[in-house]
C-alpha cells in the first residue's frame, strides 16, 4: 500500500482532525437527517440541454440575451461575498499576495501562508483511485448549512430558473454549491453533486455533465471548474468539483496543442505540446453532452485502470483538459527530490493548470518559471506511459484505430488483456517503464 503524509486542506469549518472527529452531535445545522428538516436554500436550475440531434453547436452564452454579468455569476459572487462578511473563511484570500511569474508561460504564484496552518499531516493512501465512501470520515453532509450557497440542478426548462427559498429535499438528493473556507482565489466554491447520496470521489457521466453545465451557465471563461481524483491530491473522498475566479488565462489553456483524433460525435482530442504535464484537451462535439460523455468515458477508463488524474473545465465548458499524473505515487516511492517536497506544494488541478499556491515566503519570492516547470514536470507521466494511457483511453472511447501515432503500442486484442492485467494486479500503479508495457504482437 502506498501512502503519503500531507496536511489536509480544511474546506469546511466543521472539518476537524480525523482523530478528534467524533460522531456528529448536532445543533450545528448540518446536512444530516438531524438538521435537514425544514432547511431551505436558494435553487438555481440551469437551462435545459439542447438536443444533440439539431446538428448545431449548443450556443451556451447566447450573445443577444445574456446580461454581461450573468445571473449565476451574480449569485456565486454575491453569496460568497456575503459569507466573507459573515467571517466564515479562515483568511482573506484577497490579502494573499499574488503575481504573474515573468516568462513565456505566465505561471501565477500566490503566497498563501494561512491555508495550511494548524493542521497535522495525515496519511493518505495514493495507490487506489477508487475507494469506497466512508461515512466516519469528514464529508460534505457534515458541513454547516451556512457554508452552502445554493442548490444547483440541470433544469427542464429552456430558461434558467431561480427559486430564492427552496426546501432541501432529503428524498431527492440535491446538488449543492458550498464555499471552500480555505479559498485559493476569490469565489472558491465546491460543487457537490447529489450531496446526500454520499458518492465517493469518482467521475460519473451525470456528475461531470452537471459540472459542465455550471461552467456554461456561469458564462465567464475566468470561472473554471477543477477535479482531483484520489491519488491526484483529492483530500476528501466525497464527490466534489472545485471552482473559482481568476481573471487571467492559465498557462495550461495557452499551451499549444496538436490534434490527435476526432470522435464519431465530433469531439476533437488533442495533446498539449510544450507543457510540463502531458495532457489531453477535449473540445467540440455536436453537443455539450457529447463532449461530457467522451471525457467521462476517458475518466472512467483511467479510474478502472487505477491511474490518478486531474480535470480542468475551461472556456465556459467548451474545453476540458485531462491530466493523468503520478506525483503522489512517486512521492510515496521516494522518487521526488527533497527540495521539491520541502516546498510542500501539491500539484493538484490548479497547480497543474499553472496557478501555483506557495506556502513559504522564500518560494514565493524566488518563484521562477524554471521552478514551476520542474515541479509540474515531476507530476507528468513519462512520454511512454502517456502513450500507453492514451491508447487505453482511445480504446475506451472507441477511437483506437484512427491514429497512426499509436502504431507500435496498439494491437487489437491486447488492450483489454493489458487492462484487466492492471486491474487484477491492484498493486502500485505502473509507472511507465518499458518492461511494464504489455504488448502482444
Amino acid at each position: 500500500m502506498l501512502k503519503i503524509k500531507r496536511v489536509p486542506t480544511v474546506v469546511s469549518n466543521y472539518q476537524k482532525d480525523e482523530a478528534s472527529d467524533e460522531s456528529v452531535g448536532c445543533g450545528r445545522n448540518c446536512l444530516g437527517a438531524c438538521c435537514l428538516n425544514g432547511a431551505r436554500l436558494p435553487l438555481y436550475a440551469c437551462k435545459k440541454l439542447e438536443k444533440s440531434g439539431t446538428g448545431e453547436k449548443v450556443v451556451i452564452s447566447g450573445e443577444a440575451r445574456e446580461p454581461p454579468v450573468s445571473f449565476l455569476e451574480s449569485l456565486v459572487l454575491g453569496e460568497w461575498e456575503d459569507r466573507f462578511h459573515r467571517g466564515l473563511f479562515r483568511y482573506d484570500v484577497t490579502a494573499c499576495e499574488t503575481k504573474v511569474i515573468p516568462g513565456n508561460y505566465g505561471f501565477v504564484a500566490q503566497l498563501n501562508e494561512g491555508r495550511h496552518l494548524k493542521k497535522r499531516p495525515t496519511e493518505f493512501r495514493v495507490d487506489k483511485v477508487l475507494q469506497s465512501f466512508d461515512g466516519n470520515k469528514f464529508n460534505f453532509t457534515k458541513v454547516g448549512q451556512e457554508e452552502l450557497l445554493f442548490q444547483f440542478e440541470a433544469g427542464e426548462d429552456c430558461e434558467a430558473q431561480f427559486f430564492p427559498c427552496m426546501p432541501l429535499d432529503a428524498d431527492n438528493s440535491p446538488s449543492v454549491v458550498a464555499v471552500n473556507v480555505s479559498p485559493i482565489e476569490y469565489g472558491h466554491v465546491l460543487l457537490i453533486p447529489r450531496v446526500l447520496d454520499c458518492l465517493p470521489q469518482r467521475i460519473d457521466h451525470k456528475s461531470l455533465l452537471l459540472a459542465l453545465h455550471m461552467a456554461a451557465e456561469a458564462a465567464n471563461p475566468y470561472f473554471r471548474l477543477g477535479y482531483n481524483s484520489l491519488g491526484a491530491f483529492a483530500t476528501i473522498n466525497h464527490l466534489h468539483f472545485q471552482a473559482y475566479y481568476l481573471a487571467m488565462p492559465f498557462p495550461l489553456e495557452k499551451a499549444p496543442s496538436k490534434k490527435m483524433i476526432t470522435t464519431v460525435s465530433g469531439v476533437k482530442i488533442s495533446e498539449l505540446v510544450n507543457y510540463p504535464v502531458r495532457s489531453l484537451l477535449f473540445e467540440g462535439g455536436t453537443s455539450m453532452q457529447d463532449l461530457s460523455d467522451t471525457v467521462s468515458d476517458a475518466c472512467v477508463c483511467l479510474q478502472n485502470n487505477n491511474i490518478p488524474f486531474n480535470i480542468l473545465i475551461s472556456d465556459s465548458g467548451r474545453q476540458i483538459f485531462l491530466m493523468p499524473q503520478c506525483y503522489a505515487e512517486k512521492q510515496a516511492l521516494g522518487e521526488v527530490s527533497p527540495e521539491l517536497l520541502e516546498t510542500q506544494v501539491n500539484p493538484a488541478v490548479w497547480e497543474i493548470s499553472g496557478h501555483m499556491v506557495l506556502k513559504r515566503k522564500e518560494d514565493y519570492e524566488g518563484a521562477s518559471e524554471e521552478n514551476a516547470w520542474r515541479l509540474l514536470a515531476e507530476a507528468s507521466l513519462s512520454e511512454e506511459r502517456f502513450k500507453e494511457v492514451n491508447a487505453l483511453i482511445f480504446e475506451a472511447i472507441g477511437c483506437s484505430n484512427q491514429e497512426e501515432e499509436l502504431e507500435g503500442i496498439l494491437v487489437q486484442p491486447s488492450g483489454s488483456v493489458n487492462q484487466t492485467g492492471n486491474r487484477t494486479l491492484g498493486g502500485p500503479i505502473t509507472n511507465g517503464t518499458a518492461s511494464e508495457c504489455l504488448v502482444l504482437q
Binding site: P67, E81, Q161, M248
Partner: protein, 274 residues
Amino acid sequence: MLFHMIPVFGNDDGRVIHFVAVQVPISGQKMRNGSGCSEMVFGSCRREVCLGSFVHQERALPVECDEQELENWEHCEASESEKLKSAEAVGSVLSVLTRYSEFAGRLVCGKRNCLRGADCLSSSLVISLGRIKQSFVLTNPCLPDMPIVYASDAFLTLTGYKRHEVLGQNCRFLSGVDTDSSVLYEMKECILKGQPCTVQILNYSNRKDKSTFWNLLHISPVRNASGKTAYFVGVQMEASCKDIESKELRPETRQLSVVGAVRVAVRSSFMATC
C-alpha cells in the same frame, strides 16, 4: 501570425475607445508562399476584448486558420523586421483614426491623458469593470480627498452626472442639505478603519428634475494583488418601495455581487503589473 494590438484612448476622458489589431504573417519555414493572402490582415476580435483578456504583444501566437495548417504548425518567433512592420501598420492606422476623430468631434489618441489628480486605471481593469452593469464607483484612498477614479455607466444614469464631472471628485457632491450628517460620519469612520459598511443615505441627483433619492449604499475596501487596499468600492442602489419579483436575486446579494466582481477585476489586473 504576429498579432499586435494596442488600445486607443479618448482624448478628453482617457477611456479606451478602440483597439487596433494588426496581424502580420510570420515567414516560417513551413509557410507556403503565394497562398494569395494579403500581406497584412486587419481583424476584429470582439469577443476577446469584451472578456478583457489581453494578448501579449511581442509573442507569436498560433492563429487557427484551417486544420491542414494547424497540423503543419511549428513554433516560430517573429523577426525584428516583422515586428517593425506591425508597429508601422499600427502607427498608420492610428494616425488615420486620429485624423478622422477630429472631424467627428471626439478626439482619440494612442497615449492616455490622465485627468487631474485621478490616477489612471489600466485599460484591462477598465474593460473588466465595464462588464459590471450596476451602479458603482471606485475611489482611491491613497490620493488626497479620496477622489472617484472610476464610475460605471449605471452610476451616471442614476445620478445624472457626466463622467468628466465626477472623475477626480470626492463622493460628497451627492449629499445635500437634508443628508443626515451622522450617516456621513459613520461612513467616514468605516473608511478610516478600512471596514465595509452599508448605509441608507439621501442623495441629490443632477437629473433633469434635480430629484433626491434614497441610496442604499454599500462601501468596501478592495485589495490589489499584493494584498494592500487600493480602492474603496461604493455600490449604489436606489431604495424603492416596489416589491421585488420573487424570481430575482435579493438586492443585497446583487449589491454584494458587484463588490465581488470588482474584487476579482482589481486583483487580477494587478497581478501582471506587480
